[in-house]
């Protein structure tokens, strides 16, 4: 087993002397070294058992202090986790509420007769307001997912049919598919692929990739979703589009938080730049891998290889 406690401690945001993993190691080393040391010391030089008892008590006191620091550090970590959950709830409720208010207010204002009589430039202003509300909405929704995937509880698994989930997602996307004039083809073979993974998270992966494949496609473009078994233990999911593609200079940054390729920003200014980061994080947390190949103006293929269990 590789000891990665230094990087683990860094990722927890704790100094080494407060990091439970490091302190457990220190405790273990002190315990073993002192036992061996005093065994030989007692055998050769110390005749009085009271001195041995005194030294053992001193070592116990040191170990007690370390154990106390470990307990406090664990309490801090629990507290930090709770703060993260609270933040996620605040984001999901308190930030979403005013955005929904704005969205619905704008929708009801646009229905008013007087608004329809305003000069065309006003229509453009309303479209800009709508676009910016949509941007905020997308960002908040993606931040909620980012916060969610940090919580280990959402990774609870159960068996489900991957192809059924894909069909459901495609059905939910049908208004966007129709509005974008895109043809979506399913190539799922065999018809049923049962996997044991967190269903909601897999749905989020498919939704994000399909959303990109439609949004960054060309009019009358095509999206093809392919699923196959890879041996008995893995499954392959491919989402292929005939869209705008990814510029070569953007490829290395594609999965970074908030990164957006220049042609993607031109095509759709409302994206948050979190979608592919979310996809990669989920796939890797589930023990899978994600690859892509892309040609500018020709299209992109995302390939995910995922363990079935």
């Amino acid at each position: 087993m590789r000891l990665k406690f230094i990087s683990n401690c860094k990722s927890l945001g704790l100094p080494l002397w407060q990091c439970p993993q490091f302190l457990f190691l220190v405790m273990g080393v002190i315990n073993i070294v002192s036992t061996i040391f005093f065994y030989f010391l007692g055998q050769r030089y110390i005749d009085d058992p009271r001195i041995v008892a005194l030294i053992v008590s001193a070592i116990s006191a040191i170990l007690f202090v370390i154990a106390y620091v470990i307990t406090r550090s664990l309490e801090d970590l629990v507290e930090i986790n709770k703060l993260k959950e609270d933040f996620s709830n605040i984001v999901s409720h308190q930030l979403r509420a005013p955005i929904t208010n704005l969205k619905w207010l704008l929708e009801s204002v646009q229905k008013e007769k007087e608004i329809k009589q305003l000069p065309p430039s006003y229509k453009e202003y309303f479209e800009l307001i709508e676009e910016n509300i949509q941007r905020m909405d997308n960002l908040v929704n993606d931040l909620v997912i980012v916060a969610k995937i940090k919580n280990p509880r959402v990774f609870s698994k159960h068996p489900f049919d991957l192809n059924k989930i894909i069909r459901e997602v495609v059905k939910n996307f049908s208004p966007l598919i129709r509005a974008s004039n895109i043809k979506v083809e399913l190539d799922c073979n065999p018809d049923k692929i049962e996997i044991t993974q967190p269903e909601d998270l897999l749905k989020t992966v498919v939704e994000n990739l399909l959303d990109n494949a439609i949004r960054y496609n060309k009019p009358k473009g095509r999206v093809r979703i392919i699923t196959r078994n890879k041996g008995r233990k893995k499954v392959i999911l491919k989402i292929q589009d005939t869209g705008i593609g990814i510029p070569d200079k953007s490829k290395q940054f594609l999965f970074q938080k908030f990164f957006r390729a220049s042609n993607a920003m031109e095509k759709d200014p409302c994206g948050s730049g979190l979608g592919l980061f979310i996809v990669k994080t989920i796939v890797e947390r589930l023990g899978g891998k994600i690859y892509f190949s892309s040609k500018l103006s020709k299209g992109t293929i995302f390939t995910i290889i995922l363990p079935k269990n």
């Binding site: 409720h93 208010n101 009801s108 908040v140 909620v144």
Partner: protein
């Protein structure tokens, strides 16, 4: 005229949805907190209740449970309209007989009104 009770602490939403429903020909009763909502539901026996979950004075799910315990209000259809998206909340609301659980940010105003109309019929 059918009566809808809208229990929601956001005044802006009370105005937006309330006005839209009034234009559609419904009588809309408003409550800005859970206790007032429960009292109005028991007094007015509306044809539908539109219920937010995070409410002052009484949580929406507690309110829903109280409505189901009361013989007079137990059959009133309830639509939960919230921004809380956790599976436990959805499960609890459905087990208490909510007809629909709508996450506000996922819907357009038109879609919410359509759902209300379908449920009240």
């Amino acid at each position: 005229m059918k009566k809808i009770l809208f229990i929601e602490d956001e005044a802006t939403l009370q105005k937006t949805i309330g006005e839209t429903l009034r234009k559609e020909g419904y009588k809309v009763l408003s409550a800005l907190d859970g206790e007032t909502g429960l009292r109005l539901a028991q007094q007015e026996l509306p044809d539908l209740i539109l219920l937010d979950l995070i409410l002052p004075k009484m949580h929406g799910l507690d309110l829903l449970a109280k409505l189901r315990e009361d013989e007079k209000t137990k059959d009133i259809p309830v639509i939960v309209l919230t921004n809380i998206e956790n599976p436990q909340g959805i499960e609890k609301a459905v087990s208490l007989g909510a007809r629909a659980y709508l996450v506000k940010s996922d819907y357009k105003l038109d879609e919410v009104i359509k759902k209300i109309k379908e449920t009240i019929q």
